[in-house]
Amino acid sequence: MTFIRYILRRLLYVAPQLFGIILISFMMVKLIPGDPVVMMLGPVASQESIEALRESMGFNKTLLQQFAIYFGNVLHGDFGTSWQTTRPVVEDLVVRFPATLELVTLGLLLAMLIGVPFGVLAARHKSGPIRRFTDYYGLVAGAIPDFWLALVFVYVFYTIFHIVPTPLGRVDMSLLTPPVVTGSYIIDSILIGDFEVLGSTLGHLVLPVLTLGLINAGPILKVTQSTMERVLTSDFIQYAELSGLSPRTVLRQAVRNSLPSIVTIISVLYGFLIGGAVLVEIVFSWGGAGQYAVQGVLNNDINPVLGFVVFSAVLCLFIYLVVDLICFTIDPRMRA
């Protein structure tokens, strides 16, 4: 069947794509000035110990040799060790990646729930209060930095009103984190039936999800609006109206025809937010993957950075595959 052939053909490209991504990011990380060995040993280390560590970490080999060793390790599932956490990168990411995913997924879900309906409404109203509201919303959401909004939320809802838990981490510190199954605290706590943890997790999610949702609803709204406007003025929607179809039917058709663009912008945001939500993560001490990677970059801790890049790349490739499959189902022309 064409569907399965399509997936297989897409998967065929995954391997070379991943190789390219690892190669490029490896070289770029190596270009960051600074010596990790100096960072690791501190300012008072002797020249001999620096040389010795450098030798043992393979930093004296050529770049290509280093890459070959790194790539070989990655193939065995070994992403090296972070000298900051002194733990294997994979172990760190297994905890931190789901933290980011949980946050970003819920944030985008909220953004979708706000952006898509308002985008559709905006496209249908050329003027009036609704259109003014959506115009301003798109502008403001695009202009306000997410970390600023996060800080305002913390100030208002935590400092003043005390209606949200302390914005530190994903769950109340007095509670035991659920055993890692999926890494999502919501799912894991439901799996073991620990509703105290579930409640606390949800409470901690409210503000960061609200922040990401409200900010990222902006671009979704704008793309939905412009796509819908284009579709609504298209010949076939006009003809549907000329045929006397009810506004509901016409709108349903128009939304359906806009879906590919909407799904695409959501997928782009998704890939972007894996690393792009880092400032919000920092505000809420989320301990997510973005935070982990940024710490790595700042401290010349190469392995976490590369590990993060590879994990995000795999995730993005997966998301884009899903998006293509969705478009594939919506648009028969893609099946040709």
Binding site: Y239, A240, E241, S243, L245, Q253, R256, I330, P332, A336
Partner: protein
């Protein structure tokens, strides 16, 4: 005497006209003549059923319809300027004119859907005596696609690329006829067969991009005809097709329209098609009907210089075209909306009077009206 005058007007030799109309006439004599016979049969059969009072009201009556497009800082452009047109039951009226003459805007205005920012500034469109401007949007929607339907050009872009053609046809029936989706689908299938789409069962589940232009046009026809509308507007619906397919589609259209006793406004840029297909021909220029006549009378004695220009362009005769075509110095800047004849800048017969007095549509011959101070064939 008259024939002589026209021939003289038309070209240096009268042969051109005879030859051209003869060429047209061959095709026409086969299809149009017996077409017209059965049309009149259908018409009389139809007339027998309706009450005398109903028979008197034309099916579609347009009175002084004016559609304006406001343009900022300038005067409103009138795409349709005081058009009046009555179309009785069973009649096919051809509407010809160049791009931008207001044909499509007229069609949309009749459907109650003037493309924005255009607005209907005045006038009445009535269907069977019912003034459509008195209807609210919901009532109008019930008429659109059901009593009054439209065929559109570019079927590829007028069909929703994401829905199967069966779905798009049955949607209309489901919406208007109050039948279940299943019944609507059965009806759509029947309709696909009657527009002679081969392998209808398979095409029913096909998507528009899988169809050829001719097939897609048939789907449009199926959509327009599925509710057996009383009046159909074909807006240049066949111009995108190549000649043989166009002939088939036209033939099909005329048969279907005739069989259903419907009337039709047939908008085209191809004056030759109008000759084959229509009982009457109306020529539009700058938002006005400049000539309207029975088809035979129109082609025998075209009276408006613009009509003659259109015909001469269609005949592909350089000498004739040169005689009737005048290059205006600046066409876009010319043609003010008030005062004088809007065609005068391109008219080879224009006189002083044309610049000051806007001509009225007046009787030229029986069933033949023209909007010109100096119609072709009269001394100027």
């Amino acid at each position: 005497m008259t024939a002589r005058t026209i021939a003289g007007e038309f070209g240096s030799d009268g042969m051109i006209r005879v030859e051209a109309s003869g060429k047209e006439g061959h095709l026409a004599s086969e299809s149009t003549r017996d077409g017209r016979n059965s049309k009149s049969v259908a018409l009389s059969a139809f007339a027998g059923e309706v009450s005398t009072e109903q028979a008197k009201t034309p099916l579609i009556s347009i009175k002084d319809l004016t559609v304006g497009f406001p343009s900022y800082g300038k005067t409103t452009k009138r795409a349709v300027n005081g058009v009046s047109l009555d179309i009785p039951r069973g009649e096919v009226v051809g509407l010809v004119g160049e791009s931008g003459s207001g044909k499509s805007t007229l069609a949309r205005a009749m459907m109650g859907m003037v493309p924005p920012p255009g607005i209907v500034e005045g006038g009445i469109v009535s269907l069977d005596g019912l003034d459509l401007s008195t209807l609210n949007e919901k009532q109008m929607r019930a008429i659109r696609g059901r009593d009054l339907s439209m065929m559109v050009p570019n079927p590829r872009s007028e069909l929703n690329p994401l829905l199967t053609v069966g779905r798009q046809i049955s949607n209309v029936a489901h919406e208007h006829l109050g039948i279940s989706r299943k019944q609507a689908e059965a009806k759509a299938m029947e309709m696909l067969r009657s527009v002679r789409i081969s392998d209808a069962e398979r095409r029913f589940n096909a998507y528009p991009h899988e169809l050829s232009g001719g097939m897609a046009q048939r789907v449009i026809i199926a959509i327009a005809l599925i509710c057996s509308p009383r009046f159909i507007i074909s807006d240049d619906a066949t111009s995108g097709l190549d000649v043989t397919v166009q002939a088939q589609v036209l033939e099909l259209m005329s048969t279907l329209v005739r069989d259903r006793g419907a009337s039709m406004l047939f908008i085209t840029r191809d004056i030759g098609i109008a000759a084959h297909f229509c009982n009457r021909v109306a020529v539009m220029y700058a938002g006005e009907i400049v000539e309207i006549a029975d088809t035979q009378s129109f082609f025998e004695r075209p009276a408006h210089p613009y009509s003659v220009m259109l015909l001469s362009a269609f005949l592909h005769n350089p000498a004739l075209r040169a005689k009737w075509t005048k290059k205006a110095d600046d066409l876009s800047g010319a043609a003010p909306l008030s005062g004088g004849c809007p065609f005068r800048f391109r008219c080879v017969r224009a006189r002083e009077r044309c610049a000051v007095e806007h001509p009225k549509l007046s009787r030229f011959r029986p069933r033949h009206d023209v909007r010109c101070h100096f119609p072709v064939g009269t001394p100027s």
